[in-house]
Symmetry: C2
Subunit: 307 residues, 2 copies
């Protein structure tokens, strides 16, 4: 009686791999697309823009998006290199919305952790120019933007008439919390989407990256019972052991991952496999896919069935 | 530095309520819409179609949708009245997808809990006729269906050309897990959506209701580490203390709730308040809203500021 659906992060199977030109009439499943992928369909994470957030329960890995929020990414790197996040905590978990972390003492000028070389205010990187930006467009449209698709591995939207592009608030996307002042989101307080995509946040806040591994450590936390899901007692907060740039971690302690590129025919085939599911369970293939329902597969480096 | 957004279930404030005809030029916030609501904008839950699923951590309340899945709702009521779910367990939690519960011994003919008067197979109630169905249409469209909106308080889609309507798999919607056989979803194994709406399930499975209270008890559970998010060890499962129909529970043990009706001008005003957020935090109001981002407010009965 099990409801059948593939997990988002797939384990690749060596058996029954299809050659790239072998395409059954009824189309490929996602598993078949991944099995037929080439090494060049995958990319490694850039260690200089990858964060390891270590929690007592395990490691969360975040890929920063300097193409969209270069100033925020730089400020976050500065904070991380100063060990700013070490010993801070997860402050807020609001069901079907966000998990948020930062300094519990941020309102207290004396007890708040110093920013050191990092900036407290940054220009509002809520959109960027759509010019010269790689963009793999999805065919099925979107109710919020003229075009949606993927850019450098992130779900994104663009309006080439206005000349703007921006990251979309899909599940797992990370943003920089801010006050009413648009420049107040320094990156010292971050949130991740843990529910249905709150696309109303798009173009209203700096989206700085995406959780590529460990989402379950942030999404399964107890919801806070205070206003906006903030925890009411200090002991309810999950402590952050440390946040490090992958580039600053010894090779033996790194988690080496590869992500499926979003600018390849293989990715297009993956999207098609999700638009129209091929397994026997589905009676009425959707024929369409929402931007935030497209999985971006991740695998351990070296997981390819054959070199 | 707090990211500001209203909680989905609002506490009504008696102060600063607006009269229904008092409409500021810039529009109303959701809070203002709710404060201005009339008692007739709210409905009580039908006790004969309301389930109380009591877990060790608290009560989950599910409103069944007999308008869309009458046979499934009837079978679930039969199972509940036989105390079928008492002592069963949550079997599966797959991140960004579903939490699922039922009989851990379902595959074992000897140890499986008997169905008693309930049916093991039910006609596939995946869509119904769109004729004579109340429907409050949303203006902003949808990539999956010709029309989306709300019917009897549930997010729904319809295609009047084909003559069909169906419930949409939004966050909190409850469905009847099935095998490849379309008639195998008896309602004895149920799931709830805990992530971005998996709309590809629409019209492929019987959607039988919605969690109206207690989602955090199902969404914050540890994710299962087996295939499809099933728990690998029996002790990882959350036990189900009992499932009861509200109608079968003494009045003193009921949780009396009211839900905002979805067929009123007040609901339309609420949708508009969410399409274009009015608080000072938003710089770029979305101007559109996705079906699954429309909140359906719930309050304790008698919570209205004035009779």
């Amino acid at each position: 009686m099990a409801l059948i659906l593939p997990a988002l992060v797939s384990t690749l199977l060596a058996a029954s791999a299809l050659a790239a030109d072998e395409k059954p009439a009824k189309g490929l499943t996602m598993q078949q697309v991944l099995e037929a992928s080439k090494p060049s369909d995958w990319r490694s994470l850039d260690a200089a823009n990858t964060l390891y957030m270590d929690l007592p329960a395990g490691r969360v890995i975040i890929e920063l998006a300097p193409t969209f929020a270069p100033l925020h990414a730089a400020n976050i790197r500065t904070l991380v290199r100063q060990k700013y996040f070490d010993g801070l905590a997860i402050l807020r978990v609001q069901d079907n919305f966000v998990t948020q972390w930062g300094d519990p003492e941020t309102e207290d000028a004396v007890r708040a952790k110093p920013f050191g070389q990092a900036k407290r205010k940054i220009a509002a990187e809520f959109t960027r120019s759509s010019r010269d930006l790689p963009f793999t467009r999805l065919a099925d449209g979107d109710i919020h933007a003229r075009e949606v698709g993927f850019s450098n591995g992130f779900p994104a939207a663009r309006d080439t008439t206005a000349g703007h592009a921006w990251l979309a608030h899909c599940y797992g996307m990370v943003g920089a919390g801010r006050d009413n002042d648009p420049e107040s989101g320094s990156g010292a307080e971050l949130y991740v989407v843990i529910g249905h995509a709150p696309r109303q946040l798009d173009r209203n806040i700096a989206t700085v990256g995406r959780v590529v591994k460990g989402m379950e450590l942030l999404a399964a936390l107890p919801r806070g019972t205070g206003p906006l899901g903030f925890y009411e007692k200090a002991e309810q907060r999950t402590p952050i052991t440390s946040v490090r740039l992958a580039a600053d971690v010894p090779a033996s302690q790194r988690t080496e991952l590869e992500i499926l590129r979003t600018d390849t025919p293989t990715f297009n085939a993956l999207v098609e496999s999700r638009r129209n599911r091929r397994d026997d369970w589905y009676l009425a293939p959707a024929g369409h896919i929402d931007l935030c329902n497209v999985p971006i597969p991740v695998r351990a480096s070296g997981a390819a069935p054959r070199g």
